[in-house]
Amino acid sequence: MSDIRDDRQYTETHEWILDNGDGTYTMGISDHAQALLGDMVYVELPSEGDEASAEDEFCVVESVKAASGVYAPADLEILEANEALDDEPELVNSSCYDNGWLVKFKSDGIDGLMDAATYAETLD
């Protein structure tokens, strides 16, 4: 079974988003997504200051098996990318909700996210 954390929200494309409460958000991919992709070997991260519009593919995670785009949940500006993933992309597998986070960004607000229970239902 997939691990789903109650403290954050989810997208239909299997990203998680944690509201830091100060207009900034942290984002990664869900346990379900990392398990489907398998061993991660490369993460193409955006740079600080990059902007993305809602639904833009602004980041790519690549496993041995497949490349998968990560999509912007709203208009956003990148504050920080997780540079640890350059050397250790496997953190996305081993710690997708903690050390394997992808980016921190700021945004004026995000609509249409699912809470943990709703997201869990979509995986059934």
């Binding site: 398998g38 061993d39 070997v41 490369y42 193409e44 690549e62 098996k65």
Partner: protein, 358 residues
């Protein structure tokens, strides 16, 4: 979906099961990369029971195989010796690639791919018309490939009596022990055995091998291992429409005996005369990322396509086999996700017996 006799063993071992040409097979048991390293550095085993064994028996078995396949079974002189070959259609395209094992001039054993089995059997039966040969698919055999530098020692430890018959076996040779057929062959670039055995003993043997420390490995690792070893995969590097002359498999075609008119020979000779346009080369990505199947490749002499792309766990870089115009060399560009990235053209294999060669 079809299941091998080891299906339950895969489930018990936590195998992540996927549809593999109609067979429900383990992609990995957790980490494909760990399984890959396991085979390169120690020993791992694969269930390859979905592949098909076909026996050929009869006074014209040799004569028939000399017509059916592009390599010449005349090369096989000693019992158990193996030969890799392609089986061609009239147009010189590859119906399948296979290994044939010699018993004597009236008895041969062949192993063909899983996904092509039905097509192959129909093709073989059609070609066999008029020959005094019995074509016998052995659908009740399981097959376990035990691969890695410690594979042979572990097989001898787990399977009583095998060392007596297979201890001195040279690469590309096989031996039998009762219902067991043990070949020193593989698809990983490492030493090891491919063991054919009755369905009924498959699970027991698998468990005995696990007991002595042989780890189950999935088809994901099997693919990265064979790609590092520069070995072709049917359906990727070659198919019904690709000639072995364009798939870097010229070495498997034997034209020595001019009287041996095997199927596809006329087409091959015509193409040889004219000159093949393409060949298969290896690619090593210079930067970060992963090369994927079917990506476009631009070389110094023209355009080609990635036939098998992946990430090499041994080299920690993306590698690929690609079909490109002959004469391609130096650096090339690969179109990856709308960007052109640079890669080096190399001669496969990338890795053999644990060592990086490019």
């Amino acid at each position: 979906m079809k299941h091998t006799p080891l299906y339950q063993a895969h489930i018990d071992a936590g195998g992540k099961m996927v549809d593999f040409g109609g067979w429900e097979m383990p992609l990995n048991y957790g980490s494909q990369i760990e399984e890959h390293h396991q085979v390169r550095n120690d020993v791992g085993m694969f269930d390859v029971s979905h592949m098909t064994t076909v026996d050929f028996k009869g006074v014209e078995a040799k004569k028939f195989l000399q017509t059916l396949i592009a390599n010449d079974v005349e090369k096989l002189k000693t019992q158990g010796k193996a030969l890799y070959s392609c089986m061609l259609n009239e147009a010189g395209g590859v119906v399948d690639d296979l290994i044939v094992y010699y018993q004597d001039d009236e008895n041969y054993r062949m192993v063909i791919n899983a996904g092509t089995t039905e097509k192959d059997i129909a093709w073989i039966n059609a070609q066999a018309e008029g020959f005094d040969v019995a074509v016998e698919p052995k659908l009740d055999l399981a097959m376990i490939a035990v691969q890695g530098p410690n594979a042979r020692a572990k097989v001898f430890e787990a399977m009583p009596g095998v060392e007596d018959v297979a201890g001195e076996l040279k690469p590309f040779n096989s031996a039998s022990l009762g219902g067991l057929f043990i070949a020193r062959t593989g698809y990983t670039g490492e030493d090891g055995f491919e063991i054919m055995l009755p369905e009924k003993s498959a699970e027991f043997t698998w468990k005995m091998l696990m007991e002595v420390g042989v780890k189950p490995c999935g088809l994901g690792a099997r693919d990265t291992l064979r790609l590092e070893a520069g070995m072709s995969l049917y359906g990727s590097e070659m198919n019904d429409e690709v000639s072995p002359l364009e798939a870097a498999l010229t070495w498997t075609i034997d034209l020595t005996d001019e009287d041996r008119r095997f199927v596809g020979r006329d087409a091959l000779e015509a193409l040889k005369e004219k000159g093949a346009n393409n060949t298969i080369v290896g690619l090593v990505l210079e930067g970060k990322g992963v090369i994927r199947d079917h990506q476009k490749v631009v070389t110094n002499v023209g355009e080609g396509e990635v036939t098998s792309g992946t990430f090499s766990p041994t080299m920690n870089k993306a590698i690929a086999l690609a079909s490109v115009p002959k004469g391609s060399e130096g650096l090339c560009e690969i179109e990856m996700r709308n960007k052109m990235v640079s890669a080096k053209i190399v001669k496969p294999p990338f890795v053999r017996n644990g060592k990086v060669l490019v």
